[in-house]
């Protein structure tokens, strides 16, 4: 055995001893920070292995320095591998521990409750949207109206029998003043619009209206949506087409309609509109009283008398108007049979339609 052999042997023994303690320390480290402390203690700048290597290099004679350096690098490389391996192991352990979590995913969630729009608001917005597709702008007006706007201008002078069709709430008005009423339909909005602008007019007027009635199918307050279209060359065929479009968009593409001549003081010709019963598809049931049809709205060509009141030339312009109840649309669509539910403010009702 020569001198250099014994030097090398001594060095290898020292490195082995360090490595084995290093390895034990690594194994003891339970997390990454602890592991890094161990790493620094042995392999860091001031670490034990580096120190021993530096000492050995310093002690080694010139020709052997190279071999010592090589041996040292091998040991350092080995130490880094051990560290990386243990680090991977620790990461894996941590990951396994995290994955060991097991929740009862069937428990109810932490609530973030939705509010909700009233069903009638939803239906109104849908109707406004459908008519917007046909170019109808929304128009509104006051709910307390003058007798003139609610009746007179709509060809219903005082003591006209047609006033019996709508039981009216009157407000106290000053003596000599035009009586004030809670509007019985949204038609006064049509009058106000026509008084304010020249044709073409194409509006829908949704809003609350009032009639002196109170039972499961009549409410003293309900909501109407009325349409008005006035221009040169507007015909009853246009009215029929507009209504057919609406019916198909709202009730379904397979639902047809029919017009039945009727009477309204402010339209002529006038008609009631039926849709094919959406419950029995026209074969006859309780809702449609066996007729296969359900009445949904009233309509007609604007009466020349109305045009006279708003200063439109009825020889030049023609127009159509129609009106229906928003509640009625909602009742048909959702199978609700008591109108009073809409105004009872019961959260259990409203919640169903969020």
């Amino acid at each position: 055995m020569n001198q250099s052999d014994s030097h090398a042997g001594e060095l290898a023994r020292l490195f082995d001893e360090s490595l084995s303690r290093y390895q034990a320390a690594l194994a003891e480290a339970k997390d990454e920070p602890a592991l890094r402390v161990v790493h620094a203690r042995f392999v860091g700048k001031e670490g034990e292995i580096r120190k021993r290597l530096a000492d050995a290099l310093k002690a080694a004679p010139g020709p052997e320095k190279r071999a010592v350096g090589q041996a040292g690098n091998t040991v350092l490389q080995k130490a880094e591998e051990l560290f990386a391996e243990r680090l991977r192991e620790l990461h894996e352990l941590k990951r396994q521990a995290e994955l060991a979590k097991k929740l009862d995913v069937t428990m109810p969630g932490r609530p973030h409750k939705l509010g909700g729009l009233h069903l009638l608001t939803q239906v109104r917005l849908e109707l406004e949207g459908i008519f917007a597709e046909l170019g109808f702008q929304v128009a509104t007006g006051p709910q307390v109206e003058t007798d003139f706007h609610n009746f007179e201008a709509l060809a219903m002078p005082k003591d006209h029998p047609a006033r019996d069709m709508q039981d009216t709430f009157y407000l106290r008005s000053a003596p000599g003043q035009d009586p004030l009423v809670l509007r019985t339909h949204t038609s006064p909005v049509q009058i106000r619009t026509m008084l304010a602008q020249k044709p073409p007019v194409r509006i829908i007027s949704p809003g609350k209206v009032y009639r002196k009635d109170d039972d499961p199918t009549h409410s003293p307050m309900f909501q109407q949506i009325e349409g008005l279209c006035v221009d040169e060359g507007i015909t009853m065929a246009d009215l029929k087409g507009t209504l057919l479009y609406f019916v198909k968009r709202f009730f379904g593409a397979d639902v047809g309609l029919r017009l039945r001549p009727s009477f309204f003081p402010f339209t002529e010709p006038s008609a009631e509109v039926d849709i094919e019963c959406i419950f029995c598809k026209g074969s006859g049931c309780r809702t449609c009283k066996g007729s296969g049809y359900i009445e949904i709205l009233g309509c007609g060509m604007v009466d020349p008398e109305v045009f006279r009141h708003v200063g439109y030339d009825s020889e030049r312009y023609s127009g159509f108007a129609f009106g229906t109840g928003i509640e009625r649309m909602a009742m048909l669509r959702y199978g609700i049979n008591d109108l009073r539910l809409f105004f009872a403010g019961d959260a259990r009702f409203t919640e169903q339609f969020r």
Binding site: G135, G141, A162, A196, I203, M236, K240, R260
Partner: protein, 831 residues
């Protein structure tokens, strides 16, 4: 309006293929809505009229009677359970009953066979009205008299005009001509003109009604108000014998919803149902001076009407009087003094035309809606009076005997002429969007009985006076559309002509903002409800406070007290809905409403504003069982208001802005006048940044109100005005590329110093680098903070848009803010 199918068949030849159902279906799609078809006596076969010859109790049952009935050949014993079996008199004059013999079939489908009833065999049964399909009446068996003119042994169904169908028509107010069978027949004849429906001819020969007796004087009629009563026609009949009408007519009236009274009155009602024109029979002997005066009532004049009520009249009421007193409210209801009774022998038959405007106000004021007023106020035919009166007189003679004892009196100073309307066929095209040939249009109008002649391309249409609804060309276009068939009109969409600057309609900003508020509230977890605009005065007081001068608008004719005024606020109703929902067992309730309120304005129309309001009760959203820290508090409702306000495009400032700003709002403590429903220590007011007016309040519900609603826990509420101005649309500001730096600021301050004042002062410090101030802590624990003080912790954010700030720059800026704040408030900084 009910019509009898059989009666229509007396007027029209209707081919057998046309059933009541077919005709009803066509009527319904042509302007005469048929609401229902009731079969009368359908399926009744083999029941005969039999005379009662004897009766005795059933030996084994108290309530049963053994009745001997005679069918013209033999006497048979029938068991009967009815309480009203008549006693026999002499053969031939004894009361009669309807006997369903074995083999007979009833409308219910039952076929009779001999049946033992408590030990005694009964060959069939005696029938009540319901068993015969006549009505719902089951009080007793139907009893007939010899005067009913039905021979013993006759088939009952045939004699009673069965089976029949009653069509229930919904006649629109413009068509008074359809308020009688003839008018309906006219309509059917027009609609089925191509299917072989034709008129049967029938004319009354008045001469035969005069008999051979000597002529007496014509009735004396003094027509003082020819504008209210343009024509008065009267027949005088003598020698009548008043009694019940024969069964056939009684049943016809009953089926059409009119009570049978006596043959004379029944005759007037039958004529009314036939022609749609009301008539009235007076007992001639009871007319003082034997005359009729048509005049306006004197103020306060009283009249006992046929319904037994005393009516006080006004000078606006048209009155039928005799020489000394009123005898009928013209066109509405007769009076009791001259009523036809069983002692009447002489009748004055009134057939007058009253102007609609003279009837309606009276009928309305007296709340007397009668068959007569219903027709007169819609318009009857002034030129048809003689025909109607003659037919009615003929019926009286037929049912009650007697004769026309004088020439009629016909006072008609100014004849109401027929008029002519011009119809341009191309105008029909323009309105309907369907090119109906001129010839076809002519044919439609002629089918309705309107004489038409052509003049150039136009049609000249003569309008008979029974069609008061036809006054304009458009009325004729409607008739053409109806008769030609509205289903033939094609479907097109209106061409879209649009002016360049179609404005948003008035009021639409508020409307859109209201919908925006609804969406915001819903997304903040609130449920929308909708309440009536009408409310009770008491609720208004709750919402406005006792000292408020605000008076709600009263409704003159409310349905009931609870709906007698228009609401001025939404909250009083909402808290009631909260109470109801809690009563339903709900624990956490959050309701909102967006709706109109009404306030007196001093103008013609009241002020209408849209409010948004909400009530909250219970807990925030919570996981599993709620804990006490989940309970809602004031700052929940405030947080909602903050989100809502900013969602509506308003910026929420800590203090009143130095420059008025329409798009900003700020909060201060609300007074109890401003928020009468809220807890005085937890009530805030929201004020407009431009006017400084209160536009809303929010906070905790007042404990007194809570107690009155029986609420156990605290409730919270807000009510705000929905802005009327367009929503502020901010311009885009790019996010800064440079980092922001935060500095904490912690100090002790007097405990009543409002946070908003501190926040506002810091924000308005003028420090350009300060970008935000957030309150992080409000700490008042005794022992750590001295009494009367609170410790507040704020976080202040600094940033530049040009560079990354240095620590030194931030520190200097922070110090400037602290100094500024310290000048306004005595602070004691914490380190």
């Amino acid at each position: 309006m009910k019509v009898s199918w059989n009666w229509l068949c007396e007027l029209l030849d209707i081919p057998s293929g046309l059933t009541p159902q077919t005709v009803a279906a066509r009527l319904s799609v042509s302007g005469v809505a048929v609401d229902a078809i009731h079969p009368i006596g359908k399926g009744l076969h083999g029941a005969i009229v039999a005379e009662v010859r004897g009766k005795r109790p059933h030996p084994k049952a108290d309530k049963l009677t053994l009745v001997d009935v005679f069918d013209g050949h033999e006497v048979t014993q029938v068991v009967c359970g009815a309480p009203n079996v008549p006693s026999p008199t002499e053969p031939g004059k004894s009361p009669r009953v309807v006997w369903a013999r074995p083999g007979a079939t009833l409308p219910s489908g039952l076929t009779l066979s001999p049946k033992e009833v408590r030990g005694i065999l009964s060959p069939g049964m005696l029938c009540a009205e319901d068993e015969l399909g006549l009505s719902e009446d089951h009080a007793g068996i139907l009893i007939l008299q010899p005067s009913d003119g039905i021979a013993v042994g006759d088939d009952f169904a045939q004699a009673a005009g069965l089976p029949d169908w009653v069509l229930e028509l919904d006649i629109t107010p413009n068509r008074p001509d359809l308020l009688g069978h003839i008018g309906v027949a006219r309509e059917i004849a027009a609609l089925f003109r191509h299917e072989g429906v034709t008129w049967k001819t029938s004319a009354v020969d008045v001469a035969t009604l005069r008999g051979s007796q000597a002529r007496t004087e014509k009735p004396v009629i003094s027509l003082e108000d020819p504008s209210g009563c343009p024509r008065y026609f009267a027949h005088r009949l003598s020698g009548v014998t008043v009694g019940p009408s024969p069964l056939f007519y009684r049943l016809r009236l009953q089926r059409l919803g009119v009570r049978a009274l006596s043959n004379v009155v029944d005759a007037t009602n039958l004529a009314l149902l036939l022609y749609g024109h009301p008539l009235h029979a007076f007992d001639f002997a009871k007319l003082d001076g034997h005359k009729i005066v048509v005049r306006r009532a004197h103020a306060g004049e009283k009249l006992q009407t046929l319904d037994g009520q005393e009516r006080e009249l006004q000078p606006s009421d048209l009155l039928i009087a005799d020489a000394s007193k009123g005898v009928a409210v013209a066109g509405v209801m007769g009076g009791q003094t001259s009523e036809v009774s069983y002692t009447t022998t002489e009748v004055l038959l009134e057939c007058a035309y009253f102007a609609p405007a003279s009837i309606r106000p009276t009928a309305r004021r007296l709340k007397l809606h009668t068959e007569a007023s219903h027709r007169f106020e819609r318009g009857t035919d002034p030129n048809g009076l003689a025909v109607v009166a003659d037919a009615c007189a003929a019926l009286i003679v037929k049912l009650a005997g007697g004769y026309l004892s004088s020439e009629p009196t016909d006072v008609y100073p100014h004849k109401i002429p027929t008029h002519t309307l011009t119809l341009r066929p191309e105008r029909t095209w323009a309105i309907l969007g369907l090119q109906i040939p001129a010839q076809a249009q002519k044919e439609c109008l002629e089918a309705l009985g309107l004489p038409v002649r052509s003049e150039g391309t136009n049609l000249l249409v003569e309008i008979p006076t029974h069609r008061p609804d036809l006054t304009r060309e458009i009325d004729l276009i409607e008739e053409v559309a109806r008769i030609y068939g509205i289903h033939n009109i094609p479907t097109t969409l209106p061409k879209l002509a649009m002016t360049a600057s179609q404005p948003l309609h008035q009021g639409m900003t508020r409307y859109r903002n209201a919908d925006r508020a609804r969406q915001l509230c819903a997304s903040l977890g609130l449920l929308e409800v909708m309440q009536f605009s009408m409310t009770s005065p008491e609720r208004v007081r709750t919402g406005e406070g006792k000292s408020s001068p605000t008076q709600p608008l009263p409704i003159d004719n409310p349905l009931r007290e609870e709906l007698s005024v228009l609401r001025t606020k939404l909250l009083p109703g909402l808290v009631e809905l909260l109470r109801q929902n809690l009563a339903h067992g709900l624990a956490d309730v959050r309701l909102f409403e967006v709706g109109e309120v009404f306030l007196p304005s001093g103008q013609q129309l009241p002020t209408e504003k849209t409010h948004v309001a909400a009530v909250l009760y219970g807990h925030r959203d919570h996981f599993l069982k709620p804990t006490s820290s989940d309970a809602l508090d004031f700052y929940d409702v405030k947080g909602l208001v903050e989100q809502l306000v900013s969602g509506l495009g308003l910026s929420l400032l800590w203090q009143k802005p130095e420059q008025p700003s329409a798009s900003s709002v700020y909060v201060r403590v609300a007074t109890s006048t401003e928020a009468p429903m809220l807890h005085p220590g937890a009530a805030a007011a929201l004020l407009s940044g431009s006017s400084g007016e209160v536009i809303g309040t929010f906070g905790e519900l007042h404990p007194d109100l809570r107690a009155s609603l029986d609420l156990h826990g605290a409730a919270f509420a807000f009510e705000l005005e929905v802005p009327e101005q367009p929503r502020h649309k901010p311009g885009y500001v790019p996010a800064s590329r440079f980092p922001a730096v935060s500095r904490d600021l912690s100090f002790f301050v007097h405990s009543e110093t409002e946070a908003a004042k501190l926040l506002g002062t810091m924000q308005q410090s003028g420090e350009p680098l300060l970008r935000g101030v957030t309150l992080l802590e409000d700490y008042r624990q005794a022992g750590h903070v001295e009494a009367g003080k609170k410790a507040l912790l704020f976080s202040l954010t600094y940033r530049s848009d040009e560079r990354t700030l240095t620590d030194d720059e931030v520190q200097k800026a922070h110090q400037r803010v602290i100094d500024h704040l310290g000048r306004a408030f005595p602070l004691q900084l914490r380190q």
